[in-house]
Every structure is written in structure tokens, then in C-alpha cells.
Subunit: 371 residues, 2 copies
DNA sequence: ACATGCCTTGACAACGTTGTCAGGTCTTCC
DNA sequence: GGAAGACCTGACAACGTTGTCAAGGCATGT
């Protein structure tokens, strides 16, 4: 809160009597000529010679206004460059909609998140709704601050990727009229609508593909296990290997790997040993990139197979091109937004779980067979 | 505008007398229990046993409220999960700030645009300001629609990448109190604050580097010449070649190339000829990727030098790693936002031109010498 | 004891808009 | 010709909040 109050200089409203109190002071050179008055409905009404309410009707395309008045009002509005004030409108309207939703993602400049963003925007645009977007950066404190900020701006709903923390606090927010849909990760402490990738299935696809090629020694490098997505991929890896009665070598199973550099280090460590896996499964975007680097450094990129989870730009241009389990983040965003608009429309709270399928994209790095 | 009026069912305000008119109809099963009432200041005031204004003072951290009352009010607010309504606050406040700005970029899911977005967010966050973001997709109609939409939501200012069209219409918007800063491209028909990459200088750096390596026959593949950025890069290419008295072979100069596929086609066309350039300058992101593809296809990636304009993820992992002129889109976003907040703060309109330097990132593809 | 001034609190209007309702004009029908 | 209805228009209140101002309590100085 604590608004913006330092700017002061409090310009009195445009056409009221001007305060004449400080006439004794020298002329205020370059006074903060702040905030030119915007034309309001009142101004349009005056210019068109009609009442306020008639302008309102014309602006909102209500039926039952005579054509002449419509023309007059539209002309006056155009001449003044009138823009209806959605904030005032929202205040008065009975549905209290702001035609704005909030989107909280990991990082707006991240390839995955911004694809989700694009998907949400696709749908929001159809509904003529604007999107307030923000990066959470995996920070629970920032997450709850953002929820407050967006709630204060009275967004009609929220699409968000939850952090690892507890989300019981959102229950009250939702009860107070803020519909929300989670995307990419399941929240803890609240039952809510959620759109997820099928992590287990995607992982199974990748691993079984490698197994079919004859691989028996597959390394697993996964992300932060506080995140469900990472855990699901790990569990599916284990389950799939077991189902095929293959040994899981603990020295080739890494969890809690964070970011490209860490992944490169981890991969390099076991690639320099004499005993090596014949294939590597990198359970996340950044990790895949790190492994690519490590393989290249060790000049093993054509000897050891690699499949990553989540596609990325240029994966097909690398040497060798990198096989991946491709998610469909844009679709996830679209689906989440569609769900949200349903919830907003009929005001009911529900707890549907939607899964967006992932598919295996076979590229050379995956086709390498064990020696 | 034509707001959202189809949802109907007009729930009367929460604690007023409930309308008893249609008691004869069957019970409305699962009636759209729309919009639960949110607590307002009035509710908080009642619960804390103080006046409305006192709650306002506490919420806004104004001085001069007795500590006991502050505690009482804060307690009541917390119990009700009260969230101040920024839209109502903005309406009444004399500064009329919404603490929200608009951002219009090419595409939220584009690597360059979303880095600009991240930069804007960095600065907005410091100011506790939310960002309404939208993709323009190089569509002038969409651009002006978005400006209207954001203006109606009374954003405090606008950061935007202009399309190729005319922008005189924004003059009136700005005169009506909407500060704006352009980023990445210079607008036409309006003098305004603008943050640009130094396209000419970046291009010069790249070309002179190639020349220094001994290249004399350099191909140029550039983007849509309706965009100034593309034109500037082209002109700088020509000027630099001429300054070094090198021939410009028209059959190796391509403009108006759009997207990866188009670039690949164009590059492939001249790579299949017997006479070839010894180096290629790709004047844009997508174009560079297309050229990489074409070179790889022709197996010339280690024979012909390549430098691209604008860096991209994994450029360093390609074979060979691709040399580029790197812009700093995040810095551009930050700078634009900083400028915008200055304009918002002191309400003055100005027309500063800011240039963010680009730098040459040398990677193997640039180090290839002519045969 | 009284005037003065500071400090805290609340009543009230207003921001720009829309929902409600009443009033006016014009048809239509007996 | 008059009543009834359809149609169009405007006056007014209200949405949730803050700016303004006045009133009351208390301490201080004479």
C-alpha cells in the first residue's frame, strides 16, 4: 500500500474555481504541469448537448437511443478523444468486472513461461481482457505480495504457477471472489483447478524409447525435488526402469540439480569416469543444455544418447540435434485461461485437473545406440 | 467498448434487502453464485468500531492515528482479509495514479521482446507498479486497439515498440495525459522519448571485424525495410563497405527477408552457386537461424564466416558457435521504464533519444577466414 | 479560570460511471 | 377524442475510496 503520495502539488480538478491563495509567491516556473485533465462523460455530454446518461448509453452500445443522438455523441467523443474510464465503470457496474486478469509465472523472459503467457494472451484477447503479468522467480514471499497487488487491482481472476511453498492462504483470497487456475505445478494446501503436463507419461515415453534401442544403463539428472514436476519425472524414471527390470545405478541418478552450470558440472563429473552410462535423460530444459555442453566438452556427444524433458529453440540445430519430450506450454496457457474464464463466468469454484499430453520428439541425440 | 454485459443475473449488493420478486419460480439450482461480496473499508470500519476515514488513514499509513486504533483496524482488516480497492482509490485520489503501466511488445513469447519485458518489470517492481503486457504482432490495427484498451484502463504510462505504421494518432493520446516511451524502433509522425539499439554502430563493428580478417565478399541478409532497424543496419553495411572501398555485389544483398524459413531459402539459393561470398552478415535473429540451417545443409558452416545481429540462446552451442552483435534488450527495457517513470513523475513531455550500445561477441563462426 | 493551539477523529462531498426510475412525446387502438 | 402503451431521455443515487474541513479532547501559558 502506502500509495504514491510524495508527488504532491495536488492539482485541483480542471474546471473548478482555481485556488487563489498563494498569489504573493513568485510565478511557479515550470510547475509540475502534471496530469492534464482527461475528458469525461460529462464533457462529452456538454459538447453533444445531451445528458450524461445518454452518453453512457451510446458508449456502451445500448439500444434505444435515437440515431441523431448517437451520431452527435459519437462525434463529440471523437473530437475530445474521449476514452471511457474502465476503473470508474467497474466501480459502479453490478458485475464488478475489470476485464483484466492476472498472470503470475516463473519468469516472463523464460522460454517456457513466456509460451504459457502467449497462450493465456490468446484466450484473453478473445474475451477482450487485458493481462497483468508478473514474474514470481520461485519466491514465495514475492508470490504472496503479487497476489495482494493483483487482488487490490481487482483482477477478475488469476492464472499462476505456484512456488514450492504452502498455498492455503489462497483459499481465503478465492473465497473473497478471486477465481484462480494453477498451471504447470500443483499447489499445496488448496484444491483448485490446475493444468499440468503429463510428466510421468512423458518420462515413460522417453525412457522406453531408449530401452527399445537397447540401452540398459541410463543416467537421470533431475531438478529441485521440492517441485512436484521434478519429483514426478524422477518417480516415473524409477518405475519405468523397474518395470523393465533394469538396474538403477545410484551413482548416475542426480536430483536437485539447478540450472545449466550445475547440470554441466554434474554430467562432467561422471563422464570423466571410466564406467559410463550409454544414455542420459535430462529431466528439464536448463539441465539438458548443461548436459549438451558437458557431452561436447568430453567429445561424447555422438557416443552417448541424450533425451531431454521440454523442447527448446534450436534444439534441432545442435550437433547432434537433441531429442526431447516436448510439452505444449502455449496450449497449457490457453487451457488455463479457458478454465479461468469459465470460472469467472459462472462464479463457481471447482477443482478440475487437466493434463496436457507431451510427445516424444525424436532427433539424432536420441537415436544413438549403445556400443 | 460494449463491455461485458451478457453475464447478466445482476446480483444485488451483498447486504441490501434481497429481491423477493420471483419467489414463484422453482429454486434456482446451482444459481450463478457470482461474485461473493468482498469486504470494503466500511466493513472494516464497522468491525473495528471506527469511522471510514480512520480505516483509510491506517491503510495508507498516514501519521496521526493513535496506536490503539491502528492495531484495532489492522486486526479487523486481517480478519476480513480486506484488500483496498485500488480502482476506487485511483478514482478519488487527486493524482489519479493507477500504479499500473502498459507494455506493448512484438510478442511476449519472443526472446528479444520478453527480455525487454523483463527489463521493464525490473524497474516497475521497484516502483510497486504492475505491468499490463500485450503482444502487438506487428499489426497497426491491433496496436491502436491496444492503446485504447490500456488508455481506458487508465494506465499511468506506456512502453511500446511501434509498428511500421503512422503514429501521429498517439500525439492526442499523449496530450490527454498518457506518457509514453518507445523502445527498439523509432515511431513515425510523433516526436517522443525513445530507447534504441545502436544499429549502425553494431553493424559497423561486425563488418569491420570481418574485413579485418580479410573478407572482401560479404553477403547481407536483412529484414523488412519498412522497419527502421532493418534499414539502419542495411545502410550501415553499405556505408562501411564503401568506406573500406570494397565492392558490394547486389546479388548478395537481400532485404525484406522475413523469418527463419525465408532466410534459409534465400541463403540456400546463393550457396548453391559456384561463386560464393566468403562471409555472411545476417541482420536479425531469425535470419541468423535460417542461415545457420542453410550453411549446415550445404556443409559450408566451417568454410563461410557468419556474424548475426542480436544474440540468442544456445548460439554458443551450435557447430560452429555463432558470432553475433549482441544487443542488450533487458537494459533497453529498464531504460525505457526509467524514462517513463520520470515522465510520469514530473508530468512533462520530452523527446529524448537514448541509445543502448551493442557489442560484438566473437565466436567461431566469425573467425573463419577467407580461403 | 480562561484563551490558545495541537492532536486525533469523523462527517461529508466528490471522483467518473451506471442502475433505477420517473417523466415526456409519440403512436395506436377503441 | 381520449386512454393505453411504446419509446426515448434525463435526474438522481450509488459504487469504494480520499480530500477537506470542522469538532472535540487535552495540554499549555497567562
Amino acid at each position: 500500500m502506502g500509495g504514491v503520495k510524495d508527488f504532491g502539488m495536488d492539482v485541483t480538478s480542471r474546471n473548478d474555481t482555481v485556488m487563489e491563495l498563494e498569489g504573493d509567491l513568485e510565478p511557479q516556473i515550470a510547475a509540475p504541469r502534471a496530469i492534464p485533465a482527461r475528458p469525461t462523460m460529462k464533457d462529452v455530454a456538454a459538447r453533444a448537448g445531451v445528458s450524461l446518461k445518454t452518453v453512457s448509453r451510446v458508449v456502451n452500445h445500448e439500444v434505444g437511443v435515437s440515431p441523431e443522438l448517437v451520431t452527435k455523441v459519437e462525434l463529440a467523443a471523437a473530437e475530445l478523444d474521449y476514452r471511457p474510464d474502465l476503473t470508474a465503470s467497474n466501480l459502479r457496474r453490478s458485475d464488478r468486472r475489470t476485464s483484466t486478469i492476472g498472470l503470475m509465472i516463473e519468469d516472463v523472459s523464460n522460454e517456457f513461461s513466456s509460451a504459457v503467457h502467449a497462450g493465456v494472451e490468446d484466450v484473453a484477447r478473445l474475451h477482450q481482457v487485458a493481462v497483468l503479468s508478473a514474474s514470481v522467480h520461485e519466491d514465495p514471499q514475492r508470490e504472496s505480495d503479487l497476489v495482494r497487488a493483483l487482488s487490490s487491482r481487482r483482477v477478475d481472476g488469476l492464472v499462476l504457477t505456484p512456488t514450492a511453498g504452502d498455498h492455503a492462504y489462497l483459499e481465503r483470497e478465492r473465497a473473497n471472489g478471486l477465481p484462480m487456475v494453477f498451471v504447470d505445478r500443483l499447489p499445496h494446501g488448496i484444491d483448485a483447478d490446475c493444468v499440468l503436463t503429463d510428466n510421468a507419461e512423458g518420462t515413460r515415453l522417453a525412457i522406453e524409447y531408449l530401452i527399445a534401442l537397447g540401452h540398459k544403463h541410463i543416467a537421470f539428472i533431475g531438478g529441485l525435488s521440492i517441485l512436484d514436476t521434478a519429483t514426478q519425472r524422477h518417480e516415473s524414471f524409477i518405475a519405468t526402469m523397474q518395470r523393465h527390470q533394469l538396474p538403477i545405478d545410484p551413482e548416475w541418478v542426480f536430483r536437485n540439480v539447478k540450472g545449466t552450470d550445475d547440470a554441466e558440472k554434474v554430467a562432467s563429473s561422471f563422464l570423466s569416469e571410466s564406467k559410463q552410462p550409454t544414455a542420459i535423460f535430462a529431466a528439464q530444459n536448463m539441465i539438458t543444455m548443461g548436459v549438451v555442453r558437458a557431452l561436447k566438452l568430453a567429445e561424447l556427444q555422438h557416443k552417448i544418447a541424450l533425451v531431454g524433458f521440454d523442447d527448446f529453440a534450436l534444439a534441432d540445430l545442435l550437433d547432434p540435434p537433441v531429442a526431447v519430450v516436448a510439452q505444449d506450454p502455449r496450449r497449457m496457457g490457453q487451457l488455463a485461461a479457458e478454465l479461468l474464464f469459465e470460472r469467472i463466468r459462472d462464479g463457481k469454484i471447482s477443482e478440475e485437473l487437466h493434463t496436457v499430453p507431451s510427445r516424444l520428439v525424436i532427433r539424432q541425440s536420441g537415436e544413438i545406440r549403445p556400443a
